[in-house]
C-alpha cells in the first residue's frame, strides 16, 4: 500500500519517482537511486562479511590439521551468511517496493519477489516443506488470484493506487501496532542458542503431529476454509442473478 505519511522527505520522493511507472515507456535505465541502493547493499555486505571472514580465519590459523586425519574445523557458515543477507535484502526491498509502487500489477510482481525470497529463507533454515508450501500456496496460488482479480476489476490499463487520507491513518495505526508487538516479542523472548547443524523436520513427523497433537486446530482451520468457500460461492451466485 502506498503510504502518504513521510512523503515530505527527499528520499521517499525520489523512491516513489523511481518506482512509479515512467511515461517514457520502454526505457528501463538504472536510476541514481537504484545505484545508491546497490552501493549501500555492497557496503553493508562488506561490513558484515569482513568480521565473519576474520572470525573464520582465526579458527583456521590454529594448527589443528594433522595429515591423514579429519580436519578439525566447524562447517563454514560463510556461504549461508552471504545467502542470508542477499535473500533477506531482497525480501525487504521487495516489501518496500510493494509499499511505494503505485501501479498495481507491478506491486504484484514485487510481492512475488518478497514471497519467493521468504521461501528461500525457509530453505536456508532447512524447513523444506514450509518452503515448498510457501511456493505453491502464496507464490503460485494466491498471487495468481490477486493478479487475476486486478485484471478483471481494473478499468484502465495503468491502474494507480491512490488511498484516501483516512485509509493511510488506519494503515499507519495497524503497522505501528504490528511493529510494537514484533519489537516486544523480539526483546522479550529468550532465544535458544544457535545450532551449527539444523535438523530438517521430515514431512512424516509434521503430518503425524498435525493428525495427533494439533488435530483440533487443523480441523477447525479446514472448517473455516470450507465456510469461506461456501460464502464465496454464495456471493458469486447472488451477483450472477441480480442483473
Amino acid at each position: 500500500m502506498y503510504c502518504r505519511g513521510p512523503e515530505g522527505t527527499v528520499l521517499t520522493k525520489r523512491l516513489t519517482a523511481e518506482l512509479a511507472p515512467s511515461d517514457s515507456i520502454g526505457s528501463s535505465r538504472l536510476g541514481g537511486l537504484w545505484r545508491l541502493c546497490g552501493w549501500g547493499l555492497a557496503v553493508a555486505a562488506v561490513l558484515v562479511l569482513v568480521p565473519e571472514v576474520r572470525a573464520q580465519q582465526k579458527v583456521i590459523i590454529e594448527p589443528t590439521r594433522v595429515p591423514y586425519q579429519s580436519v578439525e574445523a566447524p562447517p563454514s557458515p560463510l556461504l549461508e551468511v552471504l545467502l542470508f543477507y542477499a535473500v533477506a535484502g531482497s525480501t525487504v526491498f521487495g516489501a518496500l517496493a510493494v509499499c511505494f509502487t503505485k501501479n498495481i500489477v507491478r506491486m504484484a510482481v514485487w510481492l512475488l519477489v518478497t514471497l519467493v525470497s521468504v521461501a528461500m529463507l525457509y530453505f536456508l533454515l532447512a524447513a523444506n516443506f514450509i518452503a515448498a508450501v510457501q511456493l505453491i500456496v502464496y507464490a503460485g496460488g494466491t498471487l495468481i488470484l490477486l493478479i487475476f482479480g486486478v485484471m478483471l476489476t481494473s478499468k484502465s490499463p495503468w491502474v494507480k493506487f491512490e488511498p484516501s487520507k483516512v485509509e493511510v491513518v488506519y494503515a499507519a495505526a495497524v503497522c505501528g501496532l504490528l511493529v510494537a508487538v514484533l519489537a516486544f516479542i523480539l526483546t522479550a523472548t529468550i532465544w535458544p542458542p544457535a545450532q551449527e547443524q539444523l535438523d530438517a523436520t521430515t514431512v512424516a513427523d509434521l503430518g503425524r503431529s498435525l493428525m495427533t497433537t494439533y488435530v483440533v486446530p487443523f480441523e477447525v482451520a479446514g472448517v473455516l476454509l470450507m465456510i469461506v468457500m461456501v460464502g464465496a460461492a454464495h456471493l458469486a451466485r447472488q451477483e450472477k442473478q441480480s442483473p
Partner: protein, 521 residues
C-alpha cells in the same frame, strides 16, 4: 541496406571488434570442417554423441566415487574438506593427495604425479556443484531444441508432410539450431504502449522456475542435483510460479489478445493445479513418502511392480494426472492461452527474438519435467521393465555396473520413458481439436476434481486394506495387478506394433495418395 522503407530509424551498421571477428573466423572454419562430416555421417555422429555423454556422466560419477571412498577416507565426518569455501584452507594439498593416491594403490598410484593436480579441485563441493549445474544447464537447453525439432517432424507426418528436411542434411536435424540463431539475431521489439520493465522481465519469470525444477528432479538413483525430502511438492510449487511470467507477459503487452491469453492461463492454472496435485497424492499414499527417489525405488521389481499397475485407483490417477498436466503446461487440447486461431498468438503476441524463444524453451522444458514426474511416480522411474533382482545377480564389477545401468536401472530409462510421454503430448496436440474455455473449466471442476478426490479416497482405503492380514485380499491384489499390467502391456506392444507398421509403410500417404504413384516420384 535501405531498400525497404521502414517507419523506424534504421540502426547504423555495426562494426565488430577484433575478438568478435576472431570468433566469427573460428566458427566459419569449424563449419567448413564439420559440414561435410555431418552431411555424410549424421546418424553415427548423433549416436556417438549420445553414447559419449552417457559415458562422460558415468565417468564423472566414478571419479567422484573414487575420490570420496579412496582418497578422502572420512568423507562424511570430514566436514571441513567438503564445505563451501572450505575455510580451513584449500582442502587437502596435492602433496597429501599424492600420498593418499599411493596408499590407495592400483592404477591411481602409477599416475599419482598427474592425478594429484587433476583430482585436487574435485574434493570441493562447490566445484562438484559447478560441474553438475553445467550438466543440468546443458540438458535443460538440449531438450527443448530437440523436442521442438521432433514436434515439427511429428506434425509433418500427421499432416502428410515431411517437416523440416534441409538444415544439417539428415531430416533437418539442425533446424532448431538454425532457428535459435535466427531468433537471437532478431530485433528485440518492445511495443510503445507496453509496460517496459515488466515486458522485459516476464520471460525470465517463466524460464527460471523451470530451470529450478530441474535441480530437484532426479534422473537416476544418484543423478540428482539436490535430493529434497519434499521434491514432489517443490517441483509443483516452482512450476506454479512459472505461470506468473505468462500472466505478467500478457498484461504488460497492453494488447487485448495478450490479456485474454493471460486471463485464460490464470483461470486454467488455478483450476487444474488442484486435480493435478490430488492425482499425484495417490502414489504418495501408496508408497508413503514424498521423496521422489524413495517412490521410484519402490518400483524396482519390473513391469508389474510399477505404481500405475499396483491398483485401479493409481491406474486412473495416472491418466487424470496426464490430462491435468497437459492443461497446466498449456498443451493442446488446453492451449487456450495461445490459441492462434482466436488470439493471434495469445500471451506472446508482442514478443519477438530471444524473449520469444525463452517462452518456448520454458514450455518445452516444463513438458519434459511434467513427463518425468509422471514416469517417476507411476511408470517405474529409472527402472527398466525387467525385474531389478535379475541385475543384482550380476555382481558389482565395473562391467556389471555398466551393464546394469543400461539394462536394469539408469537415467537412460527415465529419459526414454519421459521422451515417450513428451511424444504422446505432441501426438495429442496434432490430433485433438482445441476445446472452449467453458469446456476446459467444466472438465476440471465437474469431472476431474471429483474424480481425483474419489481416487485419493479409494487409494487410501486400498492401502488400509492391504495392511490387514486377510488372505484373499493378497490374492485379489495380485490378480488386479496382473490384469492392469496386461492392459499396459497390450497398449505398449500395440503402440510398438502400429509404429513398426507405420515405419514399414512410411512412404505411403493417407488414402490413395501414394508417393510411388504420384507423378514425378
Amino acid at each position: 541496406m535501405s531498400q525497404f522503407s521502414v517507419p523506424w530509424q534504421p540502426k547504423q551498421p555495426y562494426s565488430y571488434g577484433a575478438p568478435a571477428r576472431a570468433v566469427i573466423a573460428l566458427a566459419r572454419l569449424t563449419a567448413d570442417i564439420a559440414t561435410p562430416l555431418l552431411r555424410r555421417f549424421p546418424g553415427p555422429i548423433l549416436i556417438g554423441a549420445i553414447v559419449t555423454v552417457c559415458l562422460g556422466v558415468w565417468a564423472h560419477a566414478l571419479v567422484f566415487g573414487y575420490v570420496d571412498q579412496r582418497l578422502l577416507t572420512q568423507p562424511v565426518a570430514d566436514a571441513a574438506a567438503f564445505s563451501y569455501f572450505s575455510p580451513s584452507t584449500w582442502g587437502l594439498s596435492p602433496t597429501l593427495l599424492h600420498a593418499r593416491l599411493e596408499m590407495a594403490g592400483g592404477q591411481g598410484a602409477a599416475l599419482a604425479g598427474l592425478l594429484q593436480y587433476l583430482l585436487w579441485p574435485v574434493q570441493f563441493q562447490i566445484v562438484r556443484d559447478g560441474i553438475a549445474l553445467g550438466a543440468l544447464f546443458g540438458l535443460f537447453n538440449i531438450i527443448p531444441v530437440y523436442v521442438i525439432w521432433w514436434e515439427r517432424k511429428v506434425a509433418g507426418r500427421i499432416q502428410s508432410r515431411v517437416g523440416p528436411m534441409r538444415v544439417g542434411g539428415w531430416h533437418g536435424w539442425a533446424q532448431s539450431f538454425a532457428d535459435g540463431i535466427k531468433l537471437v539475431l532478431k530485433e528485440d521489439l518492445v511495443p510503445k504502449e507496453a509496460d517496459g520493465p515488466l515486458f522485459r522481465i516476464a520471460p525470465y519469470f517463466t524460464i527460471i522456475p523451470t530451470l529450478v525444477a530441474f535441480m530437484a528432479l532426479p534422473l537416476g538413483a544418484t543423478y540428482v542435483f539436490r535430493e529434497l525430502d519434499v521434491a514432489l511438492v517443490f517441483i509443483l510449487g516452482v512450476l506454479g510460479v512459472e505461470v506468473v511470467g505468462v500472466i505478467v507477459a500478457g498484461w504488460a503487452s497492453n494488447n487485448k489478445w495478450s490479456v485474454y491469453g493471460a486471463m485464460r492461463e490464470a483461470c486454467q492454472m488455478v483450476s487444474y493445479e488442484i486435480p493435478m496435485g490430488m492425482a499425484l497424492l495417490v502414489p504418495v499414499v501408496c508408497v508413503g513418502s514424498l521423496n521422489l527417489r524413495t517412490i521410484a525405488e519402490s518400483q524396482a521389481g519390473g513391469w508389474f511392480d510399477w505404481l500405475a499397475f499396483s491398483n485401479p485407483f493409481a491406474f486412473v490417477a495416472f491418466i487424470s494426472y496426464f490430462i491435468a498436466s497437459l492443461a497446466s503446461c498449456k498443451r493442446a487440447p488446453f492451449d487456450l492461452p495461445e490459441a492462434e486461431s482466436e488470439l493471434v498468438a495469445g500471451f506472446h503476441t508482442e514478443y519477438s527474438g530471444f524473449r520469444w524463444a525463452l517462452f518456448f524453451f520454458a514450455e518445452y522444458a516444463s513438458m519434459f519435467v511434467i513427463a518425468a514426474l509422471a514416469v517417476i511416480l507411476f511408470l517405474g522411474g529409472w527402472n527398466s521393465p525387467l525385474p531389478g533382482s535379475w541385475g543384482d545377480a550380476l555382481g558389482d564389477g565395473l562391467a556389471a555396473q555398466g551393464f546394469k545401468g543400461l539394462l536394469f536401472s539408469g537415467p537412460i530409462w527415465l529419459m526414454l520413458k519421459s521422451i515417450f510421454l513428451v511424444y504422446v503430448q505432441i501426438w495429442l496436440r496434432w490430433t485433438l481439436p482445441r476445446i472452449r474455455i467453458d469446456q476446459v473449466l467444466y472438465a476440471c471442476v465437474q469431472v476431474l476434481l471429483p474424480l481425483t478426490m474419489l481416487l485419493l479416497l479409494g487409494a487410501t482405503l486400498w492401502v488400509w486394506a492391504s495392511t490387514s492380514d486377510v488372505g484373499w485380499w493378497a490374492v485379489l491384489t495380485t490378480i488386479v495387478t496382473i490384469i492392469l499390467g496386461l492392459i499396459g502391456l497390450v497398449f505398449a506392444f500395440g503402440f510398438v506394433g502400429i509404429a513398426a507398421y507405420g515405419f514399414y509403410h512410411r512412404r505411403r500417404l493417407v488414402g490413395n495418395l501414394v508417393i510411388d504413384v504420384l507423378p514425378g516420384s
